[in-house]
C-alpha cells in the first residue's frame, strides 16, 4: 500500500513538473462549466475519494444515480416521443401518420397553438393572428376526434401540450375518449397540460400562484380516484427554465421546487405524497455542455430519491425513482445563422442525454430558430436519435461514464449546488412564495443577461453568431401554415356554438362558476361541460373570471 502511494506521489509530481516545464509562463485561464462550476484541467482518483461506492450505487437501486431500472439500456429502446402539431387538426393528423408506424414509438406529444396553449377559443379577440400557428387548434371534442380518430389511445401515450389549460383540457380529452368507449383507467398519457407553473419562469398570464397549484394538483387527484395507472400525473418542466436562460443548477433546483410545491399541495388536499410523487414525469433540457449534462441527469435522479425519502418519507418505491425523465433538446441553443449547424448541436445534446440515462429524447429540428419545422427537418431530428441509438453502440452498457473521475466529481458538485439553491428557496418561503415574489424570474433573467453579455463580448463563442460568421447565409426551406386556417377555425367554432344545446351550455358554465367560487372540486363540472360541448375557451374564461388571470412580474 505504502509503495503504491509513493509511486502515485511520484507520478503526480512528475506530471506537475512536466506541466510547469511546458507551460511555465502561461497562467491557465480558469475554466467553468456552463453553470459556473469551476474546473480543474485534470481529475484524478483524489477528487472522488470522499464519494462512497454506495452513493454511486447500482442502476435501479436507491439512490438511482446510475439509472432508473436495473438493465434499462439493454432491453428498452429509447423510443422517441415526437412533438408535432400545426394548422387544422386534420393537418396535424397527417403529420402524426408519419410517426404512427415508427417501431417502438412510446408516445406522441401534440403541440397546440398559442390560443389553445392558454385556453382561448379561435374566435377570442386575443387569438387573432395566432390560430393554427406554432401548433394546432383544439377547443372541443370534435377537434380531438380529427387528430386522434382511430389512434389506439390505450396503447400509445398521448400528451397535449396546452400547459395553461390544465384540468379543462384533461376534461375535454376524457370526454372524447368516453365517446370512443375508452374509460379513463385504460388511457395512457402524460399531463402536458399541467404546466401552469411555467408562469413562474416567463411572461405568461396565469391564475394566482396558489390557486394555479391547486388547479393543477386536482389532475393528480382525479388520476388517483379513477385508477388511471397508465397516465402520468404532474409533468414537471426543466426545459422552460433553461430556455428562459437559467443554467443546469437552476434547472434541477427549480424542477425539484416544483415537485415539492405540488406534493405539499396534494397533501393539503388530503392525498398522500406517494399519490403525487409516484406518478410524476419530467422533461429536462438537453443543452450544450456535454459532461455537465451527463452529470446533471445522474445528480437529478439521486437528489430526487433522497428528497422524497428524507423529506416526504415516501413508501412507494416508484416515488423515489423518477422513471419518466425525458429530454427535449434546447431550442434556444439553436441559431438562425447557418441553420444546418444546428443538426450537430442537436446530435451532441441528444448523445449527452442518452449517456446521462434519459427515458426519451425529443431532438429539435434544425430550423426551429427560423420557424416551425418542415417535414424534412423533423425527419432529420428523428433520424438523429435513431442513428445514435442503433449505430453508435452507446446504448449497450448502463451508465457508461460512471467511475470517470471528472463525471463523478461533477455529479457531486451539481448535487451540492442544487441543495444550496433548494435551501435558499425554502428559506424564502417555498415554491409558491418565490413564484409570487418573482424570485425565480430574477434568477433566470440575471443568468440570461450574464450569458448574453459574454456572447456580446466574445468571451463565449456561438459559432456563426459571434465567430466564424459567413456573409452568405444558406437558404433553408421555411414551413408555413396556410393563413386561411384561422378563418376556417373561427368559422368552425362559430357554427359549433350555434348548433349545440346552448341552454345546457349555460347551465354547465353556471355550475362550474359556482363550484369555482366555493373552491370545490372542479373536475366534475368540467367533465359535464365537456360532454355538453362547452368549449375549452368557455370553461377557461369562466375560471379566469373567478380566479383572476395576470402576468406576475
Amino acid at each position: 500500500m505504502k509503495e503504491e502511494l509513493d509511486s502515485w506521489a511520484r507520478i503526480k509530481k512528475e506530471w506537475q513538473e512536466e506541466c510547469s516545464r511546458l507551460y511555465n509562463e502561461k497562467a491557465e485561464e480558469p475554466k467553468f462549466t456552463n453553470s459556473g462550476i469551476p474546473l480543474k484541467p485534470l481529475y484524478t482518483h483524489e477528487d472522488i475519494q470522499d464519494i462512497k461506492c454506495e452513493e454511486i450505487g447500482m442502476p435501479g437501486i436507491y439512490p438511482f444515480t446510475r439509472g432508473v431500472s436495473p438493465l434499462e439500456r439493454r432491453f428498452e429502446p429509447i423510443a422517441p416521443l415526437p412533438t408535432m402539431g400545426y394548422g387544422l387538426p386534420e393537418e396535424t393528423r397527417k403529420r402524426l401518420d408519419l410517426y404512427l408506424d415508427v417501431p417502438g414509438l412510446s408516445g406522441i406529444s401534440i403541440c397546440c397553438d398559442m390560443p389553445t396553449y392558454h385556453g382561448y377559443d379561435p374566435d377570442h379577440p386575443f387569438s387573432r393572428g395566432r390560430v393554427g400557428q406554432c401548433g394546432t387548434s383544439i377547443c372541443n371534442t370534435q377537434d380531438l376526434e380529427k387528430i386522434f380518430d382511430g389512434v389506439p389511445l390505450d396503447k400509445i401515450k398521448v400528451g397535449i401540450n396546452a400547459p395553461f389549460a390544465g384540468l379543462a383540457m384533461f376534461a375535454l380529452y376524457i370526454a372524447y375518449a368516453e365517446k370512443r368507449g375508452i374509460p379513463p383507467d385504460r388511457l395512457k398519457g402524460t399531463s402536458d397540460f399541467s404546466r401552469m407553473y411555467k408562469a413562474a419562469f416567463g411572461s405568461h398570464p396565469c391564475f394566482k400562484p396558489k390557486r394555479a397549484m391547486k388547479y393543477i394538483a386536482e389532475i393528480v387527484e382525479y388520476i388517483c380516484k379513477n385508477k388511471m395507472t397508465g397516465w402520468q400525473g404532474i409533468f414537471l418542466d426543466g426545459y422552460i427554465i433553461r430556455e428562459q436562460g437559467g443554467n443546469a443548477i437552476h434547472e434541477l433546483a427549480f424542477v425539484l421546487a416544483q415537485s415539492i410545491g405540488f406534493t405539499e399541495q396534494v397533501i393539503e388536499d388530503g392525498f398522500s405524497a406517494d399519490d403525487c410523487l409516484s406518478i410524476m414525469s419530467c422533461k429536462l433540457n438537453g443543452h450544450n455542455d456535454f459532461f455537465e449534462e451527463i452529470a446533471k441527469f445522474r445528480a437529478f435522479r439521486k437528489i430526487w430519491a433522497k428528497i422524497n425519502r428524507e423529506k416526504f418519507h415516501c413508501k412507494n418505491p416508484e416515488s423515489l425513482n423518477l422513471k419518466f425523465v425525458g429530454t427535449q433538446t434546447g431550442g434556444a441553443t439553436l441559431t438562425a445563422q447557418q441553420p444546418l449547424n444546428n443538426i450537430v448541436r442537436v446530435t451532441v445534446q441528444t448523445l449527452a442525454a442518452i449517456i446521462g440515462g434519459t427515458s426519451w429524447v425529443d431532438p429539435a429540428a434544425y430550423d426551429e430558430a427560423l420557424a416551425i419545422p418542415t417535414e424534412e427537418a423533423e425527419t432529420i431530428a428523428l433520424r438523429t436519435s435513431q442513428i445514435l441509438f442503433h449505430e453508435s453502440n452507446v446504448k449497450n452498457v448502463m451508465d457508461p461514464m460512471a467511475g470517470s473521475y471528472y463525471i463523478e466529481h461533477l455529479t457531486q458538485k451539481i448535487e451540492e449546488e442544487v441543495y444550496k439553491m433548494l435551501g435558499e428557496i425554502e428559506k424564502r418561503g417555498g415554491f409558491v412564495k418565490c413564484w409570487e415574489d418573482g424570485w425565480f424570474r430574477r434568477q433566470i433573467e440575471d443568468e440570461s443577461y450574464k450569458w448574453r453579455r459574454e456572447v456580446d463580448s466574445g468571451k463565449k463563442i456561438v459559432v456563426g453568431v459571434n465567430k466564424f460568421i459567413t456573409d452568405t447565409e444558406i437558404e433553408v426551406p421555411i414551413f408555413r401554415v396556410d393563413p386561411r386556417v384561422e378563418e376556417i377555425m373561427v368559422e368552425r367554432v362559430k357554427s359549433f356554438k350555434n348548433s349545440r344545446d346552448n341552454e345546457k351550455v349555460r347551465v354547465c358554465l353556471g355550475k362550474l362558476r359556482e363550484v369555482a367560487q366555493n373552491d370545490g372540486e372542479l373536475m366534475p363540472p368540467l367533465l359535464e361541460a365537456a360532454r355538453a360541448d362547452v368549449t375549452l375557451g368557455e370553461m377557461m374564461d369562466t375560471l379566469r373570471e373567478v380566479f383572476g388571470w395576470h402576468v406576475y412580474r
Partner: protein
C-alpha cells in the same frame, strides 16, 4: 444619454411581447441593453394591439419594439401600424424582433416596420439603429 450639439435627448422606447406569446428572453435582454445605453424603456405585455398603441401614446414614446416568436407577425404589425395611423401616431419608429423568417422581412418593411432583429442580434446593433433613426425629439431638453 445621447448628447449631440448641445441638445440632450432621452429616447423613450416601448418594448412589448404578447402575453399569449411568452417568448420574452430576447426582448428583456434588449430592454436592459437600451437602458444601459441611457434610453428610457417601458416594458409591457399585451393582449390586444390597442393596448400597445394606447401605452405608446400615453407614454409618448419615440420607438415601439415588438417581439413576436409565434408566427403571427404579419397580422400583428399591420394591425399596429394601421392603429397608429388611425390615432395620428404614425411618427413612432416601429421595430420588430423574435423569430421572423428572412423572407417576411420585406413584407414587414413594406407595411412600415423600420427594422427586423432576429435571433442572435447583438444589443449594440439595436442601440445603434435606434440612435441613428430616432432623435428623441419629443423629449428635447436644452442643456
Amino acid at each position: 444619454m445621447y448628447i449631440d450639439k448641445g441638445i440632450q435627448t432621452k429616447i423613450r422606447v416601448l418594448l412589448c411581447v404578447a402575453t399569449i406569446d411568452g417568448h420574452d428572453r430576447g426582448v428583456k435582454y434588449i430592454a436592459r441593453k437600451l437602458r444601459d445605453a441611457g434610453m428610457e424603456v417601458v416594458y409591457t405585455t399585451y393582449n390586444l394591439i390597442e393596448e400597445i398603441v394606447d401605452v405608446a401614446i400615453q407614454e409618448d414614446v419615440d420607438v415601439i419594439g415588438i417581439s413576436s416568436s409565434t408566427a403571427s407577425h404579419t397580422t400583428l404589425f399591420s394591425d399596429v401600424i394601421q392603429s397608429l395611423k388611425a390615432k395620428g401616431a404614425e411618427d413612432k419608429l416601429v421595430i420588430a424582433g423574435g423569430v421572423i423568417p428572412t423572407a417576411d422581412i420585406p413584407i414587414l418593411k413594406k407595411i412600415g416596420v423600420k427594422a427586423v432583429f432576429g435571433p442572435g442580434t447583438s444589443g449594440d446593433e439595436v442601440v445603434n439603429f435606434i440612435l441613428a433613426n430616432s432623435d428623441g425629439e419629443k423629449n428635447k431638453v436644452v442643456k
